[in-house]
């Protein structure tokens, strides 16, 4: 079983729809969960990070962590064509010497 699994997509949704992006993981030691957005031919940029279980909201974006199910989600409300990008989940145990484990990314297309 891979440490982090993420559906590669592509996921195509119409503008204005709610988008749900997900990752599952196997290491119960993970405590910090991140979402990165990567536009084509650019470096990933940190979108959100959360600690342990629960929700975190930032504008149109909501990150959700369910540690009991080892499942994390990123919701995008009122999706815009500018949200079209690859979204990578990432997680770490937070022991400072640990590396971040990245998902392979989901390609998202928002159709105008």
């Amino acid at each position: 079983q891979k440490e982090v699994e993420q559906d590669p997509g592509p996921l195509s949704v119409p503008e204005g729809a709610i988008v749900s992006l997900n990752c599952t993981y196997s290491n119960s030691a993970f405590q910090y969960f991140m979402w990165y957005r990567q536009y084509s031919r650019k470096g990933p940029e940190l979108l959100m990070y959360t600690y342990s279980s629960g929700n975190k909201e930032d504008g149109r974006f909501t990150a959700q962590v369910d540690k009991s199910s080892k499942y994390i989600s990123l919701f995008i409300r009122d999706s815009q064509p500018s949200d079209s990008a690859t979204y990578l989940c990432a997680m770490s145990a937070g022991n400072r010497d640990d590396k971040i484990i990245f998902g392979k990314g989901t390609r998202l297309h928002i159709l105008p």
Binding site: Y32, M34, G43, P44, G94, N95, R96, K99, G105
Partner: protein, 114 residues
């Protein structure tokens, strides 16, 4: 605020030629530094990371090497490039004092080996 720079942005090199990619970070001290390669459909592959000057850990055995001659400078090198070295190379930094291990990426270098 912190910024991270990479150059060149794009590079086309023949097989067997040498390589030098540079990454510098501004606005922070003693960062952890990372080199990744991103190939289509394969996600981010960690190549090297460094916790200090002259301290390099290699994650994947290959014909690449890394060096950290200064606190905020990280260099990726090769003596002889292979076709398989083509890809998108990303440098990243993190603050070792933060437990989140959050990494911040540079703009990347797209390398094509012909």
């Amino acid at each position: 605020s912190q910024t991270i720079h990479q150059w060149p942005a794009t590079l086309v090199q023949p097989v067997g030629s040498p390589l030098s990619l540079e990454c510098t970070v501004e606005g922070t001290s003693n960062p952890n530094l990372y080199w990744y390669r991103q190939a289509a459909g394969r996600g981010l592959q960690l190549l090297f990371y460094s916790v200090g000057i002259g301290q390099i850990s290699s994650e994947v055995p290959q014909n690449l090497s890394a060096s950290r001659p200064q606190d905020r400078q990280f260099i990726l090198s090769s003596k002889k490039l292979l076709l398989s070295d083509s890809g998108f190379y990303l440098c990243a930094w993190s603050d070792p004092l933060q437990s989140t291990d959050t990494q911040y990426f540079g703009p990347g270098t797209r390398l094509t080996v012909l």
